[in-house]
């Protein structure tokens, strides 16, 4: 099974995928991976292999749906898009993530409270 680091990754990876699809609408796996790398200004190097189980999980949970189509390169590709449940999930997860970072930020704030 996957080791601990990837598990943590997958938590955030899911949100990144959902957010990417929210912004760009329909996109295939390679495109999603590329987009995440670009958005992170290449700070993140996505192991593309971990992307697909994450996509599959999201699909099994009903947040995204997929269908085969033709890519801009004129190649067959599987395109993913958000479902209605997926849209709600993006909002929910975004809120949660913001709360988490806010809390973390308080811990990391340079000023200590007296």
């Amino acid at each position: 099974m996957t080791d601990d680091k990837t598990d943590v990754w997958q938590g955030t990876l899911a949100l990144m995928i959902l957010k990417t699809l929210e912004t760009l609408g329909s996109l295939h796996g390679y495109g999603i991976a590329r987009r995440i790398e670009q958005t992170s200004a290449n700070h993140l190097i996505v192991n593309y292999g971990t992307l697909y189980p994450a996509l599959l999980k999201l699909e099994q949970e009903g947040y995204i749906a997929s269908e085969w189509g033709i890519s801009e390169n004129n190649r067959k590709a599987k395109f993913y898009r958000l479902t209605r449940a997926g849209k709600k999930q993006v909002e929910r997860e975004t809120r949660e993530w913001e709360r988490t970072t806010e809390i973390l930020a308080r811990f990391l704030a340079p000023r200590r409270q007296a």
Binding site: M1, T2, H28, G29, Y30, G31, R34, N47, Y48, G49, T50, Y52, P53, L56, K57, Q60, E61, G62, S71, N73, R75, K76, A77, K78
Partner: protein, 893 residues
């Protein structure tokens, strides 16, 4: 939660589809990446390489994807099973031993459970049968808990609020004739409420009406389906025809449907109304009630107690000690065999436990040999859980195969057991013939197979992973530090031996009691005696003169028949449950207590009965032809009666007086409270005690009335014929003589006295055989376990033993070393088992009354047997150890 379930359902569904779709998606991904790379200026080779690297390996990705897409646990399970099958096939000896052991254990359990299921668990064939309850009478004075009750008691009981309906019935053998020949059939005398209570209805005609229970209106009869078909060929127009029951005309008013009967022990053939009987002291009825919906058995029991308490106050003379005992009908019909079946269930559970221990210890031994394999797997990244799972899969697979074979074996054993029980036990086991495999038996077998697999698989699995597996890799197998077999394995052998000893002790105790029964002094000789059960139809033989004529004629003819030494009539043969007790007075002596009388069993015998059965006359004489109806009443008593009633004096010439309601055709006349006259009888002889009740029960005081004088109308009689040759060959001769004396006397049964003696030992014999067989199985398994352990230890110690021999140890010392080790285990097991046997064998007393629970001789012999077998089991590998060639041993790795 719902999301997780949704995902799970996708994953389960995906198990049955292949994931070709993903290959296409991966291809597409790589293609896109390669396109990009080439666009960025890479060579096609470099572009491809980089794309695969970025993906993190195609295979790994595919693996990860598949883990997510399906349920990895199912996949590994499939792998484990395939691997386990391959492994088990590679070591056929181990697999065969394990499967055979398990099949034996599981099969035995399936067999006994099948019988228990058929007899005790399956619902009775009535509608809402779970609400049917049998209500026995109890008697605090005699200690009886499953007694019959009287008609007035039944009527009072049936007012209980807990029951929506209550009925009562009794069986009686009657003669039935519709033409010339008389049949002797089992009739059920039954209250009119039976049809409501049991929810059964005649297929043709109607049930009884309440008014048909009144004397004078009761001459109506309902036929069972079987009797209707055999006697009337299933003719639909039998209603209204007349049947002569005990020579009185009865009108046929109905026919019951097929497969319906009320009497559990033997199916009744006809039904007649239960005639109202006003005597509270005449107990003869079985009472069955149907609980109202929602009423529990304990509530009904509580209400019955209130009622019987009230009756005890209202009728202190008859009911002071009478209570009621409500029991579900299923349990009540099998009340005699319930304990036996449960004991057997316990016995086979022990056998299964031994089988489990045995296989566990086999697995442990193999586990030790497989340590390297497991270590390698661990080193290659298998985690502990995965290895435990693998080992458990193996044991469950073994148990599964063992269960399948066990089911086959068990089905066969169940059939043999059911046949054997039905043929050997004279006390009928209800429904035993319906024994077979149904859903419950199947479920039971699956359940115990699973449990078995887990029980014997857990220990080896955990012990395989318990110490650091890495150490094993480094470890040299020549390790001298662990020269003993693992402690767990030794413990298992001790447990096995202990369990086997418990079973052996049980079998030993039963065998001893059987032997005691066989050698007990019976008081009569059983060889060369033909016993013919007769029935004297009542109205015809109500008068003494008619009976005496029949007796005289039959016996005279028999005496003149070649091949016959002597012949006599008796009411109750020995070993037949004993005669009914009657109260009597001793002339010239006060009653033992005011209002009570002396009590003894009263039998009836004709003049030559004692010589035919070779019952020795100790004092005085037996009856002779001179003791006729008009001569003074003569009685013969047994030695116990002589000692009890006339201690320190000769009983000869002493007199008793017996209340007898003379010449009354009804059997109620045996009820002393209805006494109308007293007969004065003189003791003319004392005969030896015979075991009248059973072989296991010492004789009670018994008084023999003279059949030529007794005014007790006794409808059932046995003709005992002492023959010169094989008694069986005279059957037809005797049949003709009796028929010529009176063609209306049905002969119910012909048996030899030897058969009767053998039948009376049938029950202890059956239990003894069963327990002995299971004990033998247990002993064999334990021996195999011990043998396996010692062999294994020897093979592990070959190196060490070689060094010992090389250093000068004598062969004898090596032999002693190994033998001592094995025997010590057996001895510890025996001691532990002895404690268990001490606690368990007393249970057997509920099966066979003559059992001495902690018989020291039986215990000592089974311990010797166990140790002897253990000695053999250890001797074989020990000898091998002693013959170790030091050169070879030192070279072995």
């Amino acid at each position: 939660m719902i999301r997780a379930l949704r995902a799970l359902s996708f994953r389960v569904a995906a198990l049955f589809r292949n994931d070709g779709d993903f290959s296409a998606e991966l291809d597409s991904h790589l293609q896109h990446h390669i396109d990009d790379n080439i666009r960025a200026g890479m060579t096609p080779e470099a572009a491809h390489r980089e794309a695969v690297l970025a993906l993190g390996g195609v295979m790994q990705t595919r693996e990860r994807y598949r883990d997510r897409r399906r349920l990895p646990i199912v996949d590994t399970l499939r792998q484990d099973i395939v691997y386990a099958v391959r492994l088990l096939r590679k070591s056929p000896a181990f697999t065969l031993t394990a499967v055979a052991t398990l099949a034996l254990g599981i099969g035995a359990n399936t067999a006994i459970f099948s019988v228990v299921n058929a007899v005790l668990l399956r619902p009775l064939p009535y509608r809402d049968a779970d609400r049917l309850v049998m209500i026995f009478a109890t008697n605090t004075q005699t200690g009886a808990s499953t007694d019959v009750s009287s008609y007035p008691d039944y009527v009072d009981w049936s007012k209980a609020d807990s029951f929506e309906s209550m009925t009562a019935f009794a069986t009686r053998n009657v003669t039935v004739s519709s033409g010339s020949e008389a049949d002797y059939v089992l009739a059920l005398r039954v209250a009119s409420t039976a049809f409501d209570t049991y929810r059964i209805q005649p297929a043709i005609g109607r049930g009884f009406r309440a008014d048909e229970q009144q004397p004078g209106r009761s001459h109506v009869v309902i036929l069972s389906d079987g009797y209707w078909k055999s006697r009337f060929g299933g003719a639909p127009d039998v209603l209204g025809e007349t049947l002569r029951v005990n020579e009185e005309p009865y009108a046929i008013i109905g026919v019951m449907p097929a497969g319906v009967h009320i009497n559990a022990a033997a199916p009744e053939e006809i039904y007649v109304p239960l005639v109202v009987d006003p005597s509270r002291t005449h107990g003869f009825l079985r009472v069955v009630g149907r609980l109202r919906p929602g009423v529990t058995l304990s509530r009904a029991q509580a209400e019955m107690r209130v009622i019987t308490d009230r009756l005890a106050k209202a009728y202190p003379k008859s009911n002071a000690t009478i209570g009621a005992n409500a029991m579900s009908l299923v349990d009540a019909t099998a009340v005699n065999v319930r304990t036996g079946l449960f004991v057997l269930l316990g016995v086979v559970a022990l056998v299964l436990l031994i089988a489990c221990t045995n296989v566990a210890s086999l697995m442990l031994a193999r586990g030790t040999a497989r340590r390297r394999e497991l270590s390698v797997r661990a080193a290659l990244g298998a985690d502990r859980a995965r290895i435990v799972r693998q080992l458990l899969t193996e044991s469950l697979l073994l148990a599964g195969v063992g269960g399948i074979v066990g089911l086959a074996v068990g089905t066969w054993m169940a059939r043999a057991l059911a046949l054997g029980l039905a043929a050997n036990l004279h006390r009928a086991i209800p429904r035993v013939e319906t024994t077979g495999v149904d859903g419950w038996v199947l479920g039971f077998t699956i359940l115990i197979s699973l449990a078995t697999g887990i029980v014997f698989g857990l220990a080896p699995a955990f012990s395989a992973v318990s110490p650091d597996l890495n150490a094993t890799l480094r470890d040299d197998s020549r390790s001298t530090t662990s020269h003993r077999s693992p402690r767990l394995q030794r413990a298992l052998v001790v447990v096995e031996t202990a369990l086997a000893l418990i079973l052996l002790a049980g079998a030993g105790v039963l065998l001893k009691s059987l032997w005691t029964l066989g050698s007990v002094s019976r008081g009569f000789e059983s060889d060369h005696v033909l016993a013919v059960d007769l029935w004297l139809p009542q109205p015809r033989f109500a008068k003494l003169s008619d009976r005496a004529r029949f007796f005289g004629e039959t016996l005279t003819h028999l005496r003149n028949t070649p091949g016959v030494r002597s012949a006599g009539f008796v009411a109750d043969l020995p070993l037949n449950g004993g005669s009914d007790g009657l109260g009597f007075r001793i002339v010239g002596r006060p009653d033992p207590k005011p209002g009570s009388m002396f009590n003894a069993g009263f039998n009836i015998a004709s003049d030559d009965y004692f010589s035919a059965m070779r019952i020795p006359v100790r004092q005085g004489r037996a009856f002779t032809a001179a003791d006729r109806g008009d001569a003074p009443g003569a009685i013969v008593i047994n030695e116990t009666a002589a000692r009890r009633f006339w201690p320190n004096e000769s009983p000869l010439g002493r007199q008793i007086s017996l209340p007898i309601a003379s010449e009354e055709p009804d059997e109620h006349s045996r009820d002393t409270n209805d006494a109308s006259s007293l007969a004065t009888l003189t003791v003319i002889g004392v005969v030896a005690d015979v075991r009248d009740i059973s072989l296991a029960t010492a004789a009670r005081p018994e008084i023999y009335l003279n059949s030529m004088q007794a005014r007790l109308p006794w409808p059932w009689l046995v003709l005992a014929v002492h023959t010169i040759g094989d008694p069986g060959t005279l059957t037809n001769t005797v049949r003709n003589i009796v028929h010529n004396a009176d063609p209306n006397v049905p002969m119910v049964k012909f048996s030899t006295m030897d058969q009767i003696v053998s039948r009376s030992m049938a029950e202890p014999r059956v239990y003894t055989i069963l327990l002995a067989v299971f004990a033998a199985v247990a002993l064999t398994l334990a021996a195999v376990g011990l043998y396996g352990l010692v062999s294994f230890t020897v093979s592990q110690r070959t190196h060490e033993l070689g060094i010992r021999v090389a250093l000068g140890a004598a062969r004898g010392e090596i032999l002693r070393l190994v033998l001592g080790d094995g025997l010590r285990l057996a001895a510890i097991g025996a001691v532990v088992g002895l404690a268990g046997a001490w606690a368990c064998t007393r249970v057997l007393r509920t099966l066979v009354h003559s059992v001495e629970p902690n018989d020291p001789l039986a215990f000592a012999s089974v311990i010797v047997l166990l140790l002897a077998v253990a000695l053999i089991a250890t001797w074989l590998p020990a000898r091998r150890a002693a013959q170790v060639d030091p050169v070879v041993a030192l070279r072995t790795d």
